[in-house]
Symmetry: C2
Subunit: 359 residues, 2 copies
């Protein structure tokens, strides 16, 4: 079967989140020994986890993993980032050595780190944390032509889905965090957000890891020009990814899709993850019910993408690093939401009857 058909088949396997379990979770929240609604958005999160797992209480994610998808970008030649291309490979080495921000935060929340080379230009050394699935040595310049072929986009999606499946089926992973590394990758992210939301380039383009005013201006122009050149059709997500995406973006579409198909919560990090989620939802609308927005990245496209996805982020700490850092920080909140449903006593159990107060 052609790779594109495999992707479509995977999307077709998705079942909606379990509305019945969500209803049971809502009722349980009212029985637990606290004023109704007093845990605010933590209660909503618990309901979402019930929908994802189809169980009340939902399982506490004991074995989370962050997938850090890495790739390089032809559009970097246009000067959209002050960082040189070689930094992508150097950071992959750093992830494997355990010295990056994602490693420090993963240790804190007890998550394993899995690095996916789906399109790093430079050669990489083998390492136990590194999954080698390079589709091509980076994309072409999306401002001049397709970033990659449609088949390569589908292969990148399949690579992400394959790693996610392996982590869940063989590795016992029960929660996925999406992460990314790729110098220049907020430019394709902005293009994807614009393509799937219909918003203009200037609104979705941001400073990435911190470009100056002149580079921001140039970057918005590149995004705007690419949208005019390709006129991507949001009804054809693989076509959009091929035209203006990145290899790590496409692979995260696969991670998101496989997580949802396997009934595992997927916690999104920043704008690259949010852009991938838009593409995944375009492939299979039911995906949205399996997503948790870990944080709101400082990148403007992140806010716009999350609004379209109907997701309210758990954290808003003005972070813009990527790597999965913001998504990982939300993992204890996800686990706490599950514990509340599973470990709290009811009014009855606490000897408080439940009818004595109006809340």
């Amino acid at each position: 079967m052609a790779v594109e058909d495999r992707v479509r088949e995977l999307a077709g396997e998705l079942e909606s989140a379990d509305a019945g379990a969500m209803e049971v979770a809502r009722a349980r929240h009212l029985a637990l020994v606290k004023p109704p609604g007093s845990l605010g958005r933590l209660e909503e999160l618990g309901v979402r986890l019930a929908g994802i797992s189809g169980a009340v209480p939902p399982p506490v994610a004991e074995s989370p993993a962050v997938v850090v998808a890495a790739g390089d970008h032809g559009v970097l030649e246009r000067g959209v980032s002050p960082w040189p291309r070689g930094v992508t490979a150097a950071m992959v080495d750093n992830f494997c050595a355990g010295g990056a921000a994602v490693n420090a935060i993963a240790r804190e929340v007890g998550a394993r780190v899995s690095v996916l080379d789906v399109g790093v230009a430079a050669g990489l050394r083998d390492h136990p944390l590194l999954r080698r699935a390079r589709v091509r040595a980076g994309t072409d310049d999306l401002s001049r032509g397709l970033a990659m072929s449609r088949e390569d986009a589908a292969r990148a999606v399949a690579a992400g889905a394959g790693l996610a499946e392996e982590l869940i089926e063989s590795g016992g992973v029960d929660l996925l965090v999406t992460g990314d590394m790729g110098i220049g990758n907020t430019t394709p992210a902005a293009c994807l957000v614009a393509a799937f939301t219909g918003r203009p380039a200037r609104e979705v383009t941001g400073r990435g890891t911190g470009v100056d005013d002149a580079t921001l201006e140039l970057k918005a122009g590149v995004v705007s020009g690419a949208l005019e050149l390709h006129r991507p059709d949001p009804g054809d997500p693989l076509g959009v990814l091929a035209a203006v995406g990145g290899l790590e973006h496409a692979s995260l579409v696969g991670v998101v899709l496989m997580g949802a198909v396997c009934g595992v919560p997927v916690v999104l990090d920043g704008v690259v993850s949010d852009a991938a989620a838009l593409a995944a939802v375009a492939l299979a609308p039911g995906v949205a019910g399996y997503l948790v927005a870990g944080h709101r990245s400082a990148e403007p496209g992140a806010r716009i993408a999350l609004e379209q996805l109907g997701l309210e982020p758990l954290l808003d700490l003005e972070m813009r690093l990527g790597e999965g850092t913001g998504g990982l920080l939300a993992v204890p909140l996800v686990r706490a939401a599950a514990r509340v449903l599973g470990e709290m006593a009811t009014f009855e159990e606490a000897g408080l009857g439940g009818g004595e107060a109006a809340g």
Copy 2:
């Protein structure tokens, strides 16, 4: 020595947070392998932890504890809450049994729970998690006279300080979270916030655990009337606590103060904790540098108190339960901020030179 003098002496022992260590932490953040500032408020938090501990990297809090201070309130007779007084004692039993929200969340973040009976009206059973330091069987009605004597307020502060000292000195606790339980206690919290910020009753009074419009109206009237009756002087924090405070509020002043004196980060929960922090800062202004705002409670007085304290909360999940739940949820963020400073490689170490990109 009179109890009040002991409180003053403790306040006098406080040293300011270490500005030199904060400067070193800022410089280290620039050397770590990430674009400058890209971890946003997590970087500021790391700098704060350096100031608190006087060390770079600051220690990762391995042994956090939440102190849940409990008391009852004479003002409950005015009808400021739909919950009956006996719920305070029943919830203390529930904390000890491990079935409350604070227990579930404490397990998630690896914190021990310590319950402080500083003024619960009903008799309580002994339990290993319960520290019995009852100053009196609840306060008097603050809308008709002093909530308690000045000496009782000082004794409650000393009880909190004593428990915090024991946890830190004998128990190895290296981070404190403040929590509270007391039916009716958002009314004295509102009075305290109004007294220390000068804001009108209507702005600082909220729905607590969820009162209806009529009760909210009544509650704001009670707060307003108490402020007119006592005209509390914010320059005399013990006088303010005696007039319009609660026993758990006063004891948390002691927890905050002792945490700061011992150089331990104190993570604030909701409006009762925030009100206590205002009083602690009035006793010793340097306390502010040792505080971390865990979350922004849905209670309006919380936002106003945090603004006055100059603290930006880490979480904003529309929670309003108290018990320490919102403060506990921020503990992994605090630990992650310390790990970033302690565990990330520098640009030099990662073989990236550091001068190749403009950020």
